[in-house]
Subunit: 228 residues, 2 copies
DNA sequence: TCGTGTGAACGAATTCACAGCG
DNA sequence: CGCTGTGAATTCGTTCACACGA
């Protein structure tokens, strides 16, 4: 990609995007996403350099963990100094694939969908919702943010036509698997699922679940086992 | 607790709630929550018994994993047969602390809060939202579901007065830490956070984060590293 | 015989500790 | 001298494999 086009960047040790795909753990990726956010904060406050320890403190992890995570992708720091905030920022954006925008569709125009579509962080991070679907005839045709709600029956063709890459599933649990199957058939290979079900996806399709009940039950367990 | 007061329960091998608190991993708890949901489905379909393998298939894990998870809390199966659905169901409810209801407060009456308060699964699982707070004078006093939105300034006294156990934080990122500090000061010791920040909580307070941007960035990473 | 329960083996992720570079 | 980058040590979680009981 356009890395060597930056004349000042020649000293960089690893070309990042070309790294051998040594399987990176999901938790490492989560932390990178978190580091990115913290770096953006630091950057907007004018901070120029940051140590693994400071980043770790803010992220709630250890300095060694931060360095290990980053070392999976290259050597971005300066020994004795730390990391250049804006540079590391850019590296992580590159690693996560955030230097481009992503075409997202939202399936299910209910409350959760509504929360998502108005969520500013989404758009500013490059996730563009380019289609919204629902089955409810009362909703179809209504405007939602910048989008008009489309009928569920149009989903397949629209997803394919717009070359949607990520689908957000915000439909009732019993409808979710059906939606996923159709969405995958239309070429989508990443899914964020809000329905409280375990979805099956073919190999090669990435799936993340956001399950509020599971989280609440985890809290209930923690409270239960702490008491006494 | 009132365990040995149940005369019929003597044959049970492990008293569950009295187990040594051998630290249970968060992922194990997540899976238990998932098993519970699957068992409820099976139960409502009239299925009487289930093997670790069947449960594993539905949960997307392995039979050994299911057995290990359950064995952390006792021996609930019958060799050669599997598990009695309704019995295991009840055991897991007991383990997770779901045989009682939990007093929950929602802080932030925005879109996410709105999604939560209308979310049926919440109430049916025993999580009762007993107070809703917001700072916006236009919202305060309005009815939301069964609740009237209360002013943020009342939060401390109401949380303490109602003996709220779990707080759901659905406020903007820059307000979240302040809210958490006050919530904790009012005796809440479990928090579900929807704000995109890393919150600091004192030891003894449980915290779970739901961070949609992190999940989306994880998907972006997966798509980026798969392509080519 | 079948499927659980579990020690033992394995593998993954985190932490340690230090060599090496700026 | 300070802080990164990284092998080595360790901890944690998962999988294996089989003895045992219904």
């Amino acid at each position: 990609m356009s890395l060597q086009s930056l004349p000042g960047a020649v000293a960089k040790k690893e070309p990042v995007a070309e790294m051998r795909s040594a399987k990176i753990s999901e938790s490492a990726v989560r932390r990178l996403s978190l580091y990115l956010r913290l770096l953006q904060e630091a950057d907007s406050l004018g901070q120029e350099t940051i140590s693994s320890e400071e980043l770790a403190d803010r992220a709630g992890t250890t300095a060694a963990q931060v360095r290990k995570d980053l070392s999976l992708f290259g050597s971005f720091g300066k020994r004795g100094l730390g990391y250049a905030v804006s540079e590391l920022l850019q590296e992580i954006r590159e690693i996560l694939g955030l230097n481009r925008s992503w075409r997202v569709a939202l399936v299910g125009a209910g409350k959760i969908g509504s929360a998502l579509i108005t969520y500013r962080n989404f758009r500013t991070r490059g996730f563009h919702i380019e289609a919204v679907f629902d089955t409810d005839p009362d909703k179809v045709g209504k405007r939602w943010g910048t989008q008009t709600i489309l009928d569920d029956t149009e989903m397949g063709s629209v997803l394919a036509g717009k070359r949607i890459e990520i689908a957000v599933i915000a439909v009732p649990a019993d409808a979710a698997q059906g939606v996923v199957d159709r969405v995958v058939a239309s070429g989508v290979s990443a899914i964020l699922n809000f329905a409280p079900v375990r979805l099956r996806v073919p190999k090669g399709v990435s799936l993340r679940n956001v399950d509020m009940v599971v989280e609440m039950e985890g809290l209930a367990f923690a409270l239960t086992s702490t008491e006494r």
